[in-house]
Symmetry: C2
Subunit: 278 residues, 2 copies
């Protein structure tokens, strides 16, 4: 079975330093390409930073999907024949709206964009929530799904990506660090593991590092296989780093578990439907 | 906030030794009561054993819900003022059907029964699948939900119990042991942790021990709090043992996370509905 190398570049963007953050992202992407990566996942809001003072600052740091970040990532994807998934602060000038968006870019340019549906904390004061399902699309190395950070706390949303056939779910994140019991893996990582196992799908969650206006981060970047165990990470080290894992993505098409079971075919959707809206 | 002691009695039933298994369960329940437990959770199929040669054997080892196990547990619940949740091989003589059932018993006797909806491996050759939602009911120590083993691999089903207001989800299980990477917590336990965190609910999963016709068990009994971290277990030791944890069950009524979020209120059910049947 053919395997591809998936890389997650945990970056430490500095709020507002757009050019420097783009340079850092580009250097990480190039290093990932040099290590053989076919798919590179970057954090949420990888270029703007996250902890905006308010909507006005976010707007000033935003860009449209024909902007410099998409241009830069498209050039890198073309140069190295990569698929790049990463977060941008999307300015929709026509609608006057900002979105917390993840883009998918390959050698031909922008393939698709997903606007975060479940907004965390003050994001609702800055961003308009998306209302489309998880983005799931075919790329040369495999069928990718895309959701963003807090979206992954909703098992319904991970399931939706799996039902749409995602082999690798890419999750750009900025996970704020919370206290946890000594020796415990962060709950955010545990939930990614569970999502991978429940759906027999690969998940690459790319977190960030760096202190930003009082917020620290889990720095829990992790690549998980369809058995639910990490293939790389989580390092939980507050520094930029790149994790790579060799992933035979076609394994995610096989939903069998044990001898007689199948994690999707065994669902009882007729029983779930009357409960989902409760 | 008032806390109650929740106990999980990881038993090692011997297939077909009904009387001896009931004695073992009774001794474990009495010990849990002596340690202050208000709620005692037992494994799936705690009295019959699990690896039946076929339907005929299971039928012979089954009993109805007015049978000796429910009688014994009712007497123990009355004597010690306990709530007991445990698995029985339910023989429905009228319908000629067997069910993999979990009962909830308090000092007044049988409060409710739940028939496993998602059947694992050869269970489908033995048991008729249930078709009712997770059992969720009020007991003196708190509002309990009940599902069984493989049910917990379906995030939809854990969510359904949370949406129905379960503060403590009780999960009698028999988790067959599979290989796992060194140092990794079993995926079954990881999924229980994720279910607790995603729903901000307590979960008590009571597994079993003992070798049975070629099958070993995870013995991963665990009690998890609404933050998703274990309060007791998993020991993953192949032996009978009782875990206890003090649980302020009312904490599970508060679904807030961070300052501005709520794991149930932040759901977007209008977006999930069109996906659930896919």
């Amino acid at each position: 079975m053919t395997a591809v190398t998936v890389a997650c570049c945990q970056l430490a963007p500095v709020l507002g330093e757009l050019e420097a953050n783009r340079d850092r992202a580009a250097a990480a992407i190039e290093a990932a390409a040099a290590s053989g990566a076919a798919i590179v996942v970057l954090p949420e809001l990888a270029i703007s930073g996250y902890v905006f003072a308010g909507r006005e600052e976010a707007w000033a740091l935003g860009e449209d999907l024909d902007g410099p970040t998409v241009h830069q990532w498209s050039a890198l994807a073309a140069e190295h024949d990569l698929v790049i998934v990463g977060g941008v602060c999307e300015r929709d000038v026509t609608a006057g709206a900002l979105h917390n968006t993840a883009v998918v870019i390959d050698a031909g340019g922008l393939l698709g964009a997903y606007r975060k549906v479940h907004l965390w904390d003050r994001e609702a004061q800055v961003f308009a929530a998306g209302s489309q399902p998880p983005l799931v699309l075919d790329t040369r190395p495999g069928r990718l799904g895309v959701i963003v950070c807090y979206d992954a706390e909703f098992p319904e949303w991970i399931r939706a990506a799996a039902l749409a056939g995602a082999e690798l779910l890419c999750v750009p994140t900025n996970w704020p660090r919370e206290p946890r019991p000594a020796g415990e893996r962060p709950s955010e990582v545990v939930r990614v593991q569970a999502g991978a196992a429940s759906n027999r799908m690969f998940i690459a969650a790319c977190d960030r590092a760096g202190h930003e206006r009082g917020t620290d981060w889990v720095s829990g970047t992790v690549i998980v296989g369809p058995d639910g165990y990490p293939l790389a990470g989580p390092a939980c080290r507050d520094e930029p780093l790149t994790l790579v894992a060799s992933c035979a993505l076609a394994r995610a098409r096989d939903k069998r578990v044990g001898v007689r079971n199948d994690v999707l075919a065994d669902r009882r959707p007729e029983l779930y439907e009357r409960l989902s809206g409760a």
